[in-house]
Symmetry: C2
Subunit: 327 residues, 2 copies
Amino acid sequence: MSVTLADIEAAAGRLAGHAVTTPLIESLALNERLGARVLIKPETLQRVGAFKFRGAYNRLSQLSEAERRRGVVAFSSGNHAQGVALAAKLLGVPALIVMPSDAPKVKLDATRGYGAEIRLFDRLTEDRAAIAAEVAAERGATVVPSYDDPHIIAGQGTLGLELARQADALGASLDLVISPLGGGGLMSGVSTAIRALSPATQFVGVEPAGYDDTLQSLRAGRRITLKPSARTLCDALESPAPGELTFPILQRNLADVAVVDDAEVAEALRYAFSALKLVVEPGGAAGLAALLAGKVAAAGKTVGLVLSGGNVDPDLFARVIRNEPLA
Amino acid sequence: MSVTLADIEAAAGRLAGHAVTTPLIESLALNERLGARVLIKPETLQRVGAFKFRGAYNRLSQLSEAERRRGVVAFSSGNHAQGVALAAKLLGVPALIVMPSDAPKVKLDATRGYGAEIRLFDRLTEDRAAIAAEVAAERGATVVPSYDDPHIIAGQGTLGLELARQADALGASLDLVISPLGGGGLMSGVSTAIRALSPATQFVGVEPAGYDDTLQSLRAGRRITLKPSARTLCDALESPAPGELTFPILQRNLADVAVVDDAEVAEALRYAFSALKLVVEPGGAAGLAALLAGKVAAAGKTVGLVLSGGNVDPDLFARVIRNEPLA
């Protein structure tokens, strides 16, 4: 079961009037620094502050009446949680979200604010998928995966559709698209949409150090599941393995994967703050971090850069822009 | 000597390819909170992080060859300084900027970064206009005023031209445009452009408490010069009087002036950070502050909101988003 341009166009139709068509913006300072033309897709400006609303709304709007009544269950460290919670609220669907007890407060509060029921779990001792499956069985609720689902992938793909069309409207031809990489739902959808419209475009995903499961899987030629030993600043990208559906798409579409560390991500947050005037969360800034650190060669190219989310706790953001220890 | 739509259109021609056409963005969360449709013009994304580049480039690009060689002088607390410095760099014109020694570090550093010579003055004991006039006389340099100049006003007006056209492209009819108000250059240009294209639109300027010189002048029917006794968070809006050129335009075009205090401005910065994911400087957020504080009635209206700049010191921004005392 793969995802096609037609699926993504259908998703765009469902999202029209509900999701934000985020603008494409350009910083002449960033262009000058990189010797490239960077077209920034600030998905920070999306509803819930991240691209995740796209996939969630596309998935939930296709539930049957009976499914809507029985509700949905999702597990997520935060952005998918908010996306599902808001889509559920808009569509009148009860939602229970299973979230790690150490998720960023801003994400917990926002998810609660959209009216979802929240069940916390301990990241180290409990299995979130098992909890979600159990609740779903009890209630007859539908589990909404955060990436390994064709409707989720198609919904995230609408970002790529917009990016391709907006670049085209500027007369720009995308040599390269760079995006943060977690479970691969975003990159699968975006690369599927853009490859269909612009076959020469290359795609580079960016993973945080310690969570380079896609890079390792691509090298091995099969899905590798990591046992991460440490956290990363990029809470949104802590997936241990690419998805069953997303991995073959990533195998087909990715030219490369770059890996960035916390210091590079923090530097990208500071750059986004001071030069771009954008609030970006660590995971959302992984692509920018790779560009600024010189881990993706951009000189002379037209680059589409996805800033995938902006949900960052004020205290962490304050520490980063003040260059305080991130403890 | 007034400013017309034709002047503003000519300025837009000069700025094409040099200034950023900033997008018009919409936050469904903000719309819901205010019961209005708010079309946000984030001039934070402009070159130098503020609208001031528009006027400066329009002014400097019209200097004669001889004038370019002799250079320019400007005085400014920071955003006009950066606008003139960058425009001068792009046009190969030597620039000296007279800045207060207590200007935000981010603005001092950026102005220096664009290659301008900087002369610091003491805000309490020295007269910046006199210093600038003296330097201009010594060098035969052209003084570039920060607002009281028809080319500066026309340049800032290009923001209004874009806003009117972008709203029109969305099928939206602007009931109201809200903008921060300092010396009045921005509001004069913006209101001139938009009134010409959309005669029913009303305009509300927002001043910081202690610097409500335009409000007092409008009430008195003549220009009042304040002797401010305290600072405001809004360093960009510390003008003591409306300009000779701007005041009659503001008299004609403004429906009202709202006044916001530091606490309301800080709240707007936090809101822009958490809900809009935008970095806005205090002066740039005055209009948003007035809306959030209920000082401008917006319910049921389509509102154009100018966020005029985003140059804020990281330490101040960190204190604001952490709700720490603002010293």
